[in-house]
């Protein structure tokens, strides 16, 4: 069984995000970039499937700038087998990403796609569902537990109010939620080994997909700031304040 894991290079989750003064976007110059945390979880899950003998090959694909090679190397160091980088100059929108992934899948024929539920930059939470739609494959989003056999996956999903379990026939698209697993740190020998693994370099044109944006970003602004309030001495004073605010 072949597993495809799409990964995205995003601003590191520990970095404080700054909006550019000209309101054209977020300042990414000289900022630490990392693999999207949900994609790390997806990579971990795919590598575990290989270690369990369920998967035979884990292929990682990224769409982004040249530097996204580093993101792919991170996944290869975690245990993925090879990578594909589709180089684009601009951040592709979710629908364009889904179309590119569909084209990759037409060439690679994986049995399963495991990917992060959302990237922490655009927070769209859309590509996995869109990819499943374009392929007419079943989907299981927000997975917190995954069991895979030859022809189906049993997926526990995080839903409002609790958990839902679905059976999906393969091939299928699974998106990873936070609690699916805890990703490993790559060991130094594995990082060295990953340098020798193959990354195929492609462009969007190779797949005949138009990645020009359909949504026009008019501006990016700072959210309204909340200022610190006051410290109150005790519970009685607090209750008095809350009553005068009308929230109790």
């Amino acid at each position: 069984m072949k597993v495809l894991v799409p990964v995205k290079r995003v601003i590191d989750y520990n970095v404080k995000v700054r909006v550019k003064p000209d309101q054209t976007g977020v300042d990414l110059a000289n900022v630490k970039m990392s693999m999207n945390p949900f994609d790390e979880i997806a990579t971990e899950e795919a590598v575990r499937l290989k270690e369990k003998g369920v998967a035979t090959e884990v292929v990682v694909v990224s769409i982004g700038p040249q530097q996204a090679q580093e993101t792919i190397r991170t996944a290869l160091a975690m245990g993925a087998d090879r990578g594909i980088l589709i180089v684009t100059d601009q951040d592709a929108e979710p629908l364009a990403v889904a179309k590119l992934l569909k084209a990759v899948i037409a060439e690679e024929s994986p049995n399963l796609v495991v990917m992060g539920k959302q990237a922490i930059d655009g927070d769209n939470n859309a590509v996995g569902q869109m990819l499943a739609a374009l392929l007419d494959w079943p989907q299981a989003t927000f997975a917190s537990k995954l069991e895979v056999t030859a022809d189906k996956a049993t997926v526990t999903r995080e839903i409002d109010g609790g958990l839902q379990t679905l059976d999906v026939s393969l091939p299928a698209v699974i998106t990873a939620d936070l609690r699916l697993n805890e990703p490993r740190y790559a060991s130094l020998p594995n990082i060295m080994k990953a340098k020798k693994k193959e990354i195929a370099m492609k462009t969007a044109a190779d797949y005949g997909v138009d990645v020009s944006p359909k949504l026009k970003v008019l501006k990016v602004t700072e959210p309204p700031k909340r200022s610190a309030g006051i410290k109150v001495a005790d519970a009685a004073e607090l209750v008095g304040k809350l009553k005068s605010e009308g929230v109790l």
């Binding site: 936070l178 970003v217 209750v239």
Partner: protein, 311 residues
């Protein structure tokens, strides 16, 4: 101009999110229809018919829709999409699951987590966990979007729209099938729509302490219970209590954070609350930077005092 709102519901009952998505639809303008896609969902449809501003309620029923599986909801909506310029779903776990699938089938982008409708084609949405707001203009023929319901005020319930049965999609060949569900039954209000939320953090130290401290305070206030990611990861509270970037986004009138330090990812889920109260023994905890009222002290003494002061 016509807008289709996909209802949040549990078949028997309509979810609170629906009235808020209808409010967002009113800002777009035009006729508003509500689709209830479920099984045995007459109750939800009748409730949707009472929402102000709704032209008609479309009721689609099949076994596959009973659990709102994405594949069946998508096929049902795509069959109806011809008559609408915009399709709106709430940013609930169900909405987030099926809406992008609908968008892709219609060959359009989805606009996720809309918090403001500027005009019929221009919308504001948070990115980077709410650390930036993006204003986007869509040139797509049909707008498919999910609505962050905390940003909209529910419409009233004095309407009397008609309920009309529409064709429901059944299970196609290769599908997802429902196995089971564990939904926590609670008498407390739903976290996302609650007027008051009491949340506990890692300082609780154990699940027992969380039950003993947070739940009685919540019950005294008629509040919903929330938790920080740290408390959930430590096993003190179940997953669906999590408030934050990767959990639920809430904006109650009153948010009480007990023993929560205020990591960015937690603040992303609650900073739009009207009044925020923080109880923490660390005076430098970041939660105090967003709190309207703070008490520096050990929750073990402050919470019992608060219970007494509330009478």
């Amino acid at each position: 101009m016509a807008v289709l709102v996909i209802a949040d519901h549990t078949n028997a009952a309509l979810g609170e999110a629906t009235a808020k998505v209808v409010a967002a639809a009113q800002k777009i303008g035009g006729d508003i229809d509500v689709l209830v896609a479920g099984q045995g969902a007459q109750g939800a449809a009748d409730a949707a018919a009472k929402l102000d501003g709704v032209r008609k309620v479309l009721l689609a029923q099949s076994d596959a829709l009973g659990h709102q599986l994405a594949e069946a909801v998508t096929d049902t909506v795509v069959g109806l999409a011809g008559g609408y310029d915009a399709i709106l779903a709430p940013s609930t776990s169900a909405g987030k699951n099926f809406a992008p699938r609908i968008a892709a089938k219609l060959d359009v982008n989805q606009i996720t987590d809309v918090i403001e409708i500027v005009s019929a084609d221009t919308f504001v949405r948070p990115i980077y966990a709410g650390n930036a707001l993006e204003t986007v203009q869509s040139s797509d023929a049909k707008k498919v979007m999910t609505i962050r319901t905390t940003a909209f005020k529910a419409v009233g319930e004095t309407g009397s729209a008609t309920v009309e049965a529409v064709t429901a999609a059944g299970a196609a060949g290769r599908e997802a099938s429902f196995v089971g569900e564990e939904v926590v039954k609670s008498d407390r209000p739903e976290l996302v729509g609650a007027k008051i939320v009491v949340s506990g953090g890692r300082a609780m130290g154990s699940a027992e302490e969380f039950h003993k401290v947070i739940e009685p305070l919540a019950d005294k206030l008629g509040a919903a219970v929330g938790a920080s990611r740290a408390a959930v990861d430590a096993g003190y509270a179940p997953n669906d209590y999590q408030v934050g970037q990767t959990g639920k986004v809430v904006a109650p009138d009153l948010y009480i954070a007990v023993g929560i330090s205020g990591a960015i990812q937690h603040l992303a889920g609650m900073k739009d609350s009207k009044v925020i109260v923080a109880i923490n023994k660390d005076a430098d905890a970041p939660i105090f930077q967003v709190a309207d009222y703070g008490i520096v002290g050990d929750y073990k003494t402050v919470v019992p005092e608060l219970m007494t002061a509330l009478g």
